[in-house]
């Protein structure tokens, strides 16, 4: 094995095997914890914070009350016998309440794992990667919130002295990280899945908390480096689904040239509402209806004038 994978540790939310939408073939997608943006429509609120935390999964709660005495800081309350609620201000992330819960209603999200442990889980499906051209995808949250760990994972996937035993790697990123961090990673990455959420800097800032200057800049640098990229474009009602914005996005894709092998539209869907409810959270983003084929066809056609391949969902 090459240098230092054994010393890299990261916070992992989940490892999902047999994913088919995060790059070619069958993949194991490693979801890291922590995010660099704050998108208002976020579908994975459990991926936002950087460190392990307890999130109540209230739909599993049997209202037994056994968690209450376990909390040493008084962060946990049940509003007088109802479903559990955690005050983030008081919580010390001690996880005692999760240990006390027998119904998987108080669940620890995020597990500290070594890169080796993650890789050995990922490598279990090597036989499937070989036949399908699949491999490892590192996603999030935002994986680049943990750049050293990502580097260790990607390097590990490519560590085998026999090139036939190395697996395909993909990085699913929002683009908003220091270029120096990307440079540590990209040598070991075959494909970047890069989100382009909005082309207008101020709108980008309004909806994600950051403007897009760094993202677009990084995208250009990746292209210049010869990275293979797929652009991932969320289609969000009343946020970015204007012809002007998509035309700008498509032109940007064309500007990146041959680096862009295709573009995946990720239409907004209201499913996250259910997840937020399960977590006992409010989904603030105004619920809209999803998109059907008819609404997507003109968008697909628009992009097809600029990029070689467009899919819905990846």
């Amino acid at each position: 094995m090459s240098e230092s994978t054994d010393t890299a540790w990261g916070v992992v939310n989940d490892i999902q095997r047999m994913c088919v939408n995060d790059g070619p073939g069958f993949r194991s997608t490693v979801f890291l914890k922590g995010c660099l943006l704050d998108c208002r429509w976020c579908h994975n609120p459990e991926g936002k914070r950087r460190f392990p935390e307890v999130i109540p999964y209230v739909s599993n709660c049997k209202v037994c009350g056994e968690c209450l005495p376990a909390c040493p800081t008084g962060a946990l309350s049940t509003n007088g016998g109802g479903l559990p609620k955690i005050s983030r201000a008081l919580c010390s992330d001690c996880m005692q309440c999760a240990a006390a819960c027998r119904h998987e209603a108080l669940v620890v999200w995020g597990r500290v794992m070594s890169a080796d442990d993650v890789l050995s889980e990922v490598m279990k499906d090597k036989a499937f990667y070989k036949t399908s051209g699949g491999g490892l995808t590192v996603s999030g949250g935002e994986p680049m919130a943990q750049p050293a760990f990502v580097a260790a994972l990607m390097r590990g996937a490519k560590a085998d002295p026999d090139p036939n035993e190395r697996i395909h790697t993909a990085l699913d990123t929002c683009g908003h990280a220091a270029w120096a961090d990307y440079e540590r990673v990209l040598d070991f990455v075959d494909l970047v899945l890069l989100d382009i959420k909005h082309m207008d800097p101020s709108a980008h800032k309004a909806y994600t908390g950051r403007d897009n200057t760094l993202i677009l800049d990084n995208a250009r640098k990746m292209a210049a480096r010869g990275m293979k990229m797929r652009l991932r474009v969320p289609v969000i009602p009343k946020v970015n689904d204007t012809e002007a914005n998509f035309t700008a996005t498509a032109r940007f894709a064309a500007e990146l040239g041959e680096a862009v092998t295709g573009l995946d539209l990720l239409p907004y869907h209201p499913y996250a509402g259910g997840k937020y409810r399960a977590f006992g959270m409010e989904y603030e983003f105004p619920a809209g209806e999803g998109y059907d084929d008819e609404m997507l066809t003109p968008i697909i056609n628009l992009f097809l004038d600029y990029v070689p391949e467009v899919t819905v969902g990846g």
Binding site: Q16, R17, M18, C19, V20, N21, D22, G25, F26, H43, N44, S59, R102, K124, D125, A127, F128, K130, T131, S132, G133, G134, S139, D264, L266, H269, P270, Y271, A272, G273, G274, K275, R277, A278, G290, D293, T311, V312, G313, G314
Partner: protein, 831 residues
């Protein structure tokens, strides 16, 4: 007028909505549409027959009349005369638009009742008032008279009388085995090499029998001595075989005559008239002679199957239609161009429908174990030729296409996959799965050929002819390989192995001492002592079943007798022995392992929580199990959370392998009547439901009454937490050659993941990996809209259904109703 609206919709729209049944209607011919809709559903729905389905009383009456007349004849001859009497006198009919004929009942809605199988099955007729033909009172009287005549005289009665009484009681308790030790309810293979490859019509066989008789008579007329004495019995058998073949030819000619009568006197449509004349010519030619066209070839095969069923209630339908009918298909469609491919598809579709409408009366336990079907008609497609080259052909494709047009639940297909299968054939296989048929199942041909050689010593060329003897087990179709009697009663309720190891051999459900006393489990000092007890219970259980079945098989020529089956077996025609006699058969037995995986999961949970972590004592566990976990839900959940098979976790996977290897060792110690091995074959049909009230609480966290796992080596539902690839990895640790005869694996895949060209490529890669891992079987269930809707109605039962949208996954039952509806719509649109 929903129907009228559907006619307006385009096939593309219906595809989007996954309304495959409407697509089938649009694509099939008018003839197939009529025939498909004219079929009576014979399989039980839950445990009950569909309204209007009746038991056929004409056949048992005819049989009993003649059987009683010839009471002093030897078994095979007596049965040949009685069965010939049925064939000469039973009511026959021809379905409108049909091009193929042959039914096991005297009207389209009847179930065959073989009265000579088992009194306990005959008695069950009284519990099913709906199945009595009108007028009911007269039928009940008839049934009562028949039952009185046969009480204590059936094949099973005769076996039960000579069984060791202890074995008989334990066997009949219903706790450890399933089925009956007689070929009256057997699964007979067909000697397709003799009938089709060697092109023998019944007249050709009669000629061979005459030669054999002549040769034997030369000797019986010669110098006296002990060697000629067995020949007298065989001469009578040859007479019986000849008699039933002649009756079979007469039976076919009755159809020919009926077709001509209709054509010449009643039919006004000139096209149909022509068809009826062709049907008549077909039945005049087969089964007397070898077939000359596809229609004759299919008709010959169907006659053989129907005639075998009129002789005994067959539980299975071993067949390889794309292989044995290919020469005539090729000649008709490709070489001589006598018929178009569409006309051939019509015949193939009808051939499947004819099989679908065959049904026999089965007792309730059989109906519960085989819900929705009347037997396991698993037809084999694909595979290799005897020289190892790819055997797939355009008829393979035609069968796969016809299946999507007729959409019957029985027969189903199993596809012999091998590395040389062409892409266009794989696409057709995938289409069937994508259309939600649930079949074909995929079998790993190289592994199973090696397996057949390993366990039963079939030579390579013979092993390559294999077909599914029942649902899962490969069996050659050759002279010495073909198996005349697979008895379902070598079906073990395996969960009892670990249950008895825990309770010192005592069964708390049927409340008697069943297995040997292997010691008070509370006193076991370590896991090894517990495992040793399990091994002893496993040995006892398999021994008991195999002893019973072996005896049933050995005595079957005397207690039952199969003249027709014998007449279609090359080795029986040659020897003059009943085909069921073990003489001349190589042996191809297996023990069907119902409820198998519960053993590994239970042993692992005990090892982890009692012996490794010491969280509970064995005494506490036994107490919890005997009170069905009552008041100990926390403890039960701990046992549910213990390591489970199917998660690529060596802790439990190693225990699974140990268990399998103990059985594999024992499989060589127990022998079939041919002297060959008895390997294990884990699979469940729907026995997991039947046994839910018979298997007590188990350390895997299961309560008495909970359904058992759905089968074979599939993990428990919802207990495979790491997805389908981890399941394949666990299963890949099993040696699919040396550890057992075959291993059933159910997998549920999401249609969203496998939609479109990308979906097909992923599925193909998946199959390639499955093969690389050395598994022998897999069948896919693409989660259908129906399932998702059922999940909405009954979320508790569908916890494991996962839906994934790009970037986000959820358990289906966890999301809102509206969102669920949206996903149901979306599943069809996936890219």
């Amino acid at each position: 007028m929903a129907q009228a609206a559907k006619i307006q919709e385009s096939i593309e729209d219906l595809e989007k909505k996954q309304e495959w049944w409407w697509i089938a209607e649009k694509k099939r011919s008018k003839r197939l549409d009529y025939l498909r809709k004219a079929v009576w559903k014979k399989g039980a729905i839950g445990g009950n027959y569909a309204p209007g389905v009746k038991v056929d009383l004409e056949i048992p009456v005819l049989f009993t009349q003649m059987y009683n007349w010839w009471k002093f004849d030897p078994p095979m001859l007596r049965r040949a005369k009685a069965n010939a009497h049925i064939l000469d006198n039973m009511t026959i009919f021809i379905t409108d638009h049909a091009q193929l004929v042959g039914y096991v009942g005297t009207t389209p809605n009847t179930l065959l009742w073989r009265i000579d199988g088992a009194s306990m099955v005959n008695e069950e007729l009284y519990n099913e008032p709906g199945v009595m033909p009108e007028p009911e009172q007269a039928s009940l009287k008839k049934v009562a008279d028949l039952n009185a005549a046969w009480a204590g005289q059936t094949a099973v009665d005769k076996v039960a009388r000579i069984l060791d009484p202890e074995d008989a009681v334990k066997f009949l308790s219903g706790a450890i085995g399933w089925g009956a030790p007689t070929s009256a309810y057997g699964y007979s293979g067909k000697d397709y090499e003799f009938l089709f490859a060697q092109r023998n019509g019944f007249l050709d066989i009669i000629e061979k029998i005459d030669e054999a008789i002549e040769k034997a008579e030369d000797r019986t007329m010669g110098a006296p001595g002990p060697d000629i004495l067995p020949l007298y019995e065989r001469l009578q058998n040859w007479d019986a075989m000849k008699m039933i073949l002649e009756a079979s030819i007469r039976y076919a000619n009755r159809y020919a005559r009926l077709a001509r009568i209709i054509a010449e006197n009643y039919e006004t449509d000139p096209t149909r008239k022509e068809e009826l004349i062709r049907l008549a010519e077909t039945c005049e030619h087969v089964p007397a002679h070898a077939p000359r066209s596809l229609q004759e070839s299919l008709q010959y095969d169907h006659f053989v199957q129907v005639l075998a069923r009129i002789e005994a209630l067959e539980g299975a339908w071993p067949a390889r239609p794309d292989y044995y009918h290919w020469p005539m298909y090729h000649k008709d469609v490709n070489v001589e161009k006598n018929i178009t491919r569409e006309e051939a598809l019509d015949l193939v579709g009808e051939f499947m429908i004819r099989a679908y409408e065959v049904g026999g009366f089965g007792p309730r336990w059989a109906r519960e174990g085989l819900q929705g079907i009347t037997g396991t008609w698993v037809w084999t497609l694909g595979g290799v030729n005897k020289d190892g080259t790819d055997a797939c052909n355009d008829l393979t494709v035609a069968f796969l296409q016809a299946a999507r047009m007729v959409r019957v639940a029985n027969p189903t297909f199993a596809f012999r996959w091998h590395p040389k299968v062409a892409d266009d054939v794989m696409r057709e296989v995938f289409e069937c799965i994508r259309h939600g048929l649930g079949y074909p199942s995929i079998r790993n041909d190289p592994v199973l050929i090696q397996n057949a050689m390993h366990w039963h010593g079939h030579p390579l060329e013979e092993a390559r002819t294999w077909v599914h003897q029942a649902c899962m087990s490969p069996c050659p179709t050759t002279k010495h390989g073909v198996q005349p009697m697979r008895m379902a009663s070598a079906t073990a309720n395996c969960a009892k192995m670990v249950e008895y190891a825990l309770h010192n051999g005592y069964d708390f459900v049927v409340q008697m001492q069943m297995g040997p006393k292997t010691g008070d489990a509370a006193k076991f000092k370590d896991f090894e002592e517990f495992f040793a007890a399990w091994v002893k219970q496993m040995e006892w259980l398999t021994n008991t079943l195999v002893r019973t079945v072996n005896l049933g098989r050995y005595k079957d020529p005397e207690f039952f007798g199969r003249p027709f089956l014998s007449a279609t077996y090359e080795r029986a025609v040659e020897s003059g022995l009943d085909a069921v006699s073990p003489v001349g058969e190589r042996g191809n037995c297996w023990i069907t392992g119902f409820t198998w995986v519960e053993n590994a999961d239970s042993l692992a949970a005990v090892k982890k929580l009692v012996f490794d972590d010491k969280k509970y004592t064995m005494a506490e566990l036994l107490d919890a199990l005997r009170t069905n976990w009552e008041g100990r839900e926390d403890m039960r959940l701990d046992f549910v959370k213990a390591p489970k098979w199917g998660n690529d976790d060596d802790y439990v996977d190693d225990i699974m392998l140990r268990c399998l290897r103990e059985v594999a060792r024992h499989s060589r110690e127990i022998q079939c009547p041919c002297g060959n091995t008895w390997p294990l074959l884990p699979e469940n049909v729907s026995g997991n439901i039947h046994y839910s009230s018979i298997v007590g609480a188990l350390p895997n966290g299961r309560r008495l009454g909970d359904a058992l796992y759905d089968g074979g080596i599939s993990p428990g539902p919802g207990l495979d937490k790491k997805g389908p690839t981890a399941v394949l990895k666990s299963c890949g640790k099993i040696d699919h050659v040396g550890d057992g005869r075959a291993f059933l694996l159910n997998q549920r895949l999401s249609p969203t993941q496998l939609a479109g060209e990308k979906g097909y490529q992923l599925w193909k890669a998946y199959i390639k990996t499955w093969a690389d891992l050395g598994l022998d079987h897999v069948q896919f269930n693409m989660v259908s809209d129906e399932t998702l809707r059922a999940a909405q109605r009954d979320p508790e039962k569908y916890q494991e259904v996962i839906v994934r949208v790009a970037g986000y996954s959820a358990h289906f039952v966890d999301i809102s109703r509206k969102t669920q509806d949206n996903i149901i719509q979306r599943t069809i649109q996936g890219i």
